[in-house]
Each structure stands twice: as C-alpha cells, then as structure tokens.
Amino acid sequence: MAWSREDMCKRASLELKNGFYCNLGIGMPTMVANYIPENVNVTLHSENGMLGIGPFPLLSEVDPDIINAGKQTITELPESSYFDSSESFAMIRGGHIDLSILGALQVSEKGDLANWMIPGKMVKGMGGAMDLVAGVKKVIILMEHNAKDGTSKLVKECNLPLTGMSVVNMIITDLGVFEIENEKIKLIEKAKDVSLEEIVSRTEANISS
C-alpha cells in the first residue's frame, strides 16, 4: 500500500531538523509545515521577503500585506522579519537556506529537475524555483511517483525543460524515499507494504538500493 499524501508530508517533515531555515514550495510542500514535530524549531522562509511564516490567519486577522510566495494570506510570528526581494534571494542564492522542498514533473538519475514548463501548454513562469534549486543547501522533491497517465516521473533523462541541472538531493514519493548520489538514484526507504519489484516496475530510471 503506497503512502497517502499525509504520509508523504509526515515523512518529508522528518527532514526538517532543529534550527533549520526552510523554504517550502507551493502545493503539497507547503503542507509539510503542518507536520513539523513540536520539539523541532524550524524557521520558514518565503521568497517574497519574509522569514518566520506563521499559520493562516483567522478571518478577523487577515492582513492583505502579509502573503506567502503562493499569494496566500498568512500570519507572522515573534521571530519574523521582512526584507526586500533582492535580499530574500541573496539568502537563497548564497546558500543560507538549509532545505527546500519542491514539487516536480520529472527528476532524472543525475538529479536534473523539470518542474516549471510543459511546452505547447501556456507557460506560467519559473518564479523562484530556479533560484531555489541552484542556491539552497539541500533540495528535496515531494511528488507522486507516477504521472496521472501512469508514466514514471523518475526518468533516465528529463525531456521537459529543466529547472536546474544536478540539483536534487532527495525524492520522496508515495512509493518511498530516494537519494541521488554520484548521478545514481538510490532507494533508501520503501513505503509500507510496497515491494522493490513494484517500485522498479513503476520507475523508468535505474534504481540502486
């Protein structure tokens, strides 16, 4: 039985260590914040210029001047600070963020990542994703193992336009946890009751374990 989205977020939350500064991408990665253990003190970064993201506001607390990178209304915390976009990306590019968790369309054996564009469809833009994968110390991809049509998202070579080359360190899917080492994908943890055979059969990339 593969992991649920909640299982995946819980597993990802274990990668957030005490004292870390983290950037969580839009979608499922944002939800990882809900599973951070109480004794782990993590500061969340938002690339539009904030450290210390708090929970969503009560309706009575909504402040249109406080949003995250997904343009959602949020709140601040006692340790929060605000800064401009050039400063925000200086933090990212300069390697001061410990961890980024992002979604993906494809990840290759070399750790290449494609997550911003499907040619032929309307292009929305890369936003801050190229900066994050180039600058953050550790990049974790949180995604379904297979696309809706069943094709593997762990591929030998990406055929979609890249977000970054050799940038992914770890992948967490509904089938397990993988690390990229020396341009190889290594399985380090299987989801409960998922067999190695199932993972291999549902993966285009070569998997070592």
Binding site: S85, V123, M126, M130
Partner: protein, 236 residues
C-alpha cells in the same frame, strides 16, 4: 510642508513629463501586494504605448498591470511568473505581447545591480536551462556560472507605506518585496504612499529606502489591496 518639492498632488502630475511611448517601466509589487495601483491607473489614462514593463508578475485580470493589458499598452514583459492572468496568456499566444522570463531572484538582482552601478554579475541560477540561452557561461573555481546583465528602467513606479517629505520611505510587511530594488534601478522613481509624515518623524536607523532614490511622491487615499488567495484558519 514641502521644502523639497518632491511631493505632488495627483498621480497625473506625479507622472507629468516623464512618460513616453516605448519606454521601460519597472513596476513594484509581488502578486498584487505592494503594487502601485494608483500610478498604474494614471499610466493607463496617459495612453502611452509600446511599453516594456519589468515586474515580477503582470497583475491579475482587471487589476494592477492587468489593466494595461486590456488597453494593449504593453509590448513586452520581463517577469518571473505570469500565471494569474488569462488575458496575458491570450495576448501571448496571439503573438501580441513579448515575454522575457527572468528567474525571480535573478530579476531582483538584475535591478539591484542596475541601481548599484554593476553592469553584470555571475549566478548559478539557470545554468543548464533555457534561461542560459545566448548568455555567457564562465567557470569560476570549477563551477559554471551564467552572466546576467543589469536592468535599468526609464521610470520606476513603486508603492510604499509611509514617506517623509524628504522621500525617506518605509514599507509594510511583505508589501516591501520588489519595491526597493526597482526604485533604485529607475532613472526616475515615482512612489505612491498611504501616508506622508514630517521629515524627522521616522527613525533614522529604520529607513528602508533613503530619499536619494525617490524623485516624486504622491499620497493616495484609495487602496483596493486585492487578495488573490484568501486562506484562513479556524480559531482554537
């Protein structure tokens, strides 16, 4: 009140003499937070056209820069994300508008560089992607970097929370975003604010953008401050 003559009475006056067809305008804000909503309206009403607009986003339909799409005043956008705007998609697919994608951090740094007299810099962001096309790659101590060039605008329009009469600015929360780097990269910088206070009433240790970067100030009373994604939690 005004010894510095930076203060104007209407957005139209604040933009008089600085607008021309084909100009490059840097427009502050992230999403629709901290955008110069009133100056954007005045640019729409000025009817200047063939604009190159540098902005992280292109507003939303019928708000912010989305208004200048309706009037087809924009020839080219330099942005990192334009996904919130159906009209943009339509004009782009019809070939009516040009688009240059710049990664968000690279965009912010290109403008910061433009304001700081740095014509070009190197970054890892975008190496090996379509962003690197036609750009110089340099290997520095074993790592490949991309050369990115500065952006300087003919005009910056930005939004701050408060200004003093000397043009010292304070921003509020995440409404700061691209406003300071864009202000610095414009040959002329016009700022709209929610409040103008006497010089001396802001703390000199806590000025976000010194008045040296601000040429014209207009206080606006009307702020829609649209919310794109209202997300709330329930009380405990």
């Amino acid at each position: 009140m005004n010894t510095s003559s930076k203060i104007y009475n209407t957005t139209k006056e604040a933009l008089s003499g600085v607008l021309f067809d084909g100009m490059i305008i840097l427009s502050g804000g992230f999403g629709v937070v901290g955008i110069p909503e009133n100056l954007t309206l005045a640019i729409r009403d000025s009817k200047i056209k063939n604009l190159t607009v540098v902005s992280n986003n292109c507003g939303v339909d019928s708000f912010g820069l989305g208004l200048l799409l309706e009037t087809r005043q924009i020839k080219k956008m330099i942005s990192s994300y334009v996904g919130e705007n159906k009209l943009f998609a339509e004009q782009y697919l019809n070939g009516e508008i040009e688009l240059e994608f710049s990664p968000q951090g690279t965009l912010a740094e290109r403008c910061r560089a433009g304001g700081a007299g740095i014509p070009a810099f190197y970054t890892k962001t975008g190496v090996g992607t379509i962003v690197a096309e036609n750009k110089e790659i340099k290997n520095i101590e074993g790592v490949d970097y991309l050369m990115e060039k500065a952006i300087i605008g003919d005009l910056s329009i930005i939004k701050a929370w408060k200004s003093d009469t000397s043009g010292n600015l304070i921003f509020r929360k995440t409404a700061r975003n691209f406003n300071p780097p864009f202000a610095k990269a414009g040959k002329i910088c016009v700022v709209e604010v929610e409040e103008i206070v006497e010089t001396g009433s802001l703390d000199s240790d806590h000025i976000h953008l010194p008045g040296i970067y601000v040429d014209r100030i207009i206080k606006c009373s009307s702020y829609e401050k649209k919310i794109e994604n209202l997300t709330t939690s329930v009380g405990k």
